[in-house]
Point group: C2
Chain length 201, copies 2
């Protein structure tokens, strides 16, 4: 163990920054020194933003996305197609799909993926809430948009199985080479999936 | 411009995280979501740490390093040699040298380097305070330990010139190949300096 290198209040702040994902001691130090070089009013606003994000944000009672009202912006929008649900693992995925400005349905945020190794089972995700929504009977299609990796795949297949009895159409995002990418850098599995999914021009 | 993608309190927090050095939109999002997954008491403590670091920390009246008392731990230590001053640009540099557990003198933190391109002149650094310390007459040696880059070099040479009239010994950290590094990855300038500074075994 090393002795603390900075004044106690600085060390305390460094410690908190270090808890952020992917932040090591050196980056946390840089963050802390940056905070100390900020105007005091800005630091106060930063502290309030921290508390505000924690206290002022809850899960949308429809789609479980994060929202500052009872229902999120997408679910509250009457212009969206509420009969199509796109299932994603994280709120950031909703943001990514919204950026494409193409999808007009609604979402369901699982807040994770199934991962037995990390002791994350179906009861830790919002799968029950999804089944309840589909169970109401107004849903025509559920698009599984979890990440195209092992856990995302497993989660998609598991949920598809659960939804089968409801007779709802369950689809999966297309696999293929990313637009703007270089074919030579694509891995074999992606290329295989891209070939399998080829379409007539 | 894009429409905000998350609830307003979340966007506000993302914005603040984005102001930290080297943090882009995606990293800031990850940080914000991490905060929202933290316990509320931890988030409160984080917010307090932010304010505490800003309000509870001032500059040591001797060496200008950051401290929560009137004088920093090093300057307040009677066992240290107060006749040797190691001049560094940032508080983090003090921490780096302290980690080596070898240096027994005191420090002087400039809080930056001379950089005409960024409009940082001698009056923006704690150079005046350094000259005052040396002027008191108890200092035997000043070790210039600014970074071995252009601005660090310029600052060291500039300060050495200012201290000349006081008849104090001004030294510079040795240049050379880093211990544990690979010679093949050392740049030419470093190798040149390492050769120039070679010593008999």
């Amino acid at each position: 163990m090393q002795a603390p290198q900075f004044a106690a209040p600085v060390e305390r702040l460094i410690e908190f920054f270090q808890r952020l994902p992917g932040v090591g001691r050196k980056t946390a130090q840089r963050f802390a020194f940056h905070v100390m070089s900020m105007e005091e009013t800005d630091v106060s606003a930063f502290a309030e933003a921290l508390l505000g994000a924690k206290k002022g944000v809850a899960r949308c009672k429809e789609c479980q996305n994060l929202t500052d009202g009872p229902v999120c912006r997408v679910c509250g929008d009457e212009g969206r197609d509420h009969s199509v649900i796109c299932v994603v693992s994280e709120p950031a995925d909703v943001a990514a799909i919204e950026r494409a400005r193409e999808y007009r349905g609604v979402y369901h945020v699982l807040h994770g993926v199934l991962s037995p190794l990390n002791h994350i089972g179906p009861e830790d995700l919002t799968i029950k809430e999804l089944v309840m929504r589909v169970g109401k009977g107004d849903v025509k299609e559920v698009i599984m948009a979890t990440d195209p990796d092992t856990t995302g795949e497993t989660t998609a297949v598991y949920i598809a199985g659960l939804l089968k009895p409801f007779g709802v159409k369950v689809t999966r995002l297309a696999y293929g080479v990313p637009v703007g990418g270089h074919l030579e850098f694509a891995d074999e599995v992606t290329l295989l999936r891209a070939l399998e999914g080829r379409r007539e021009l």
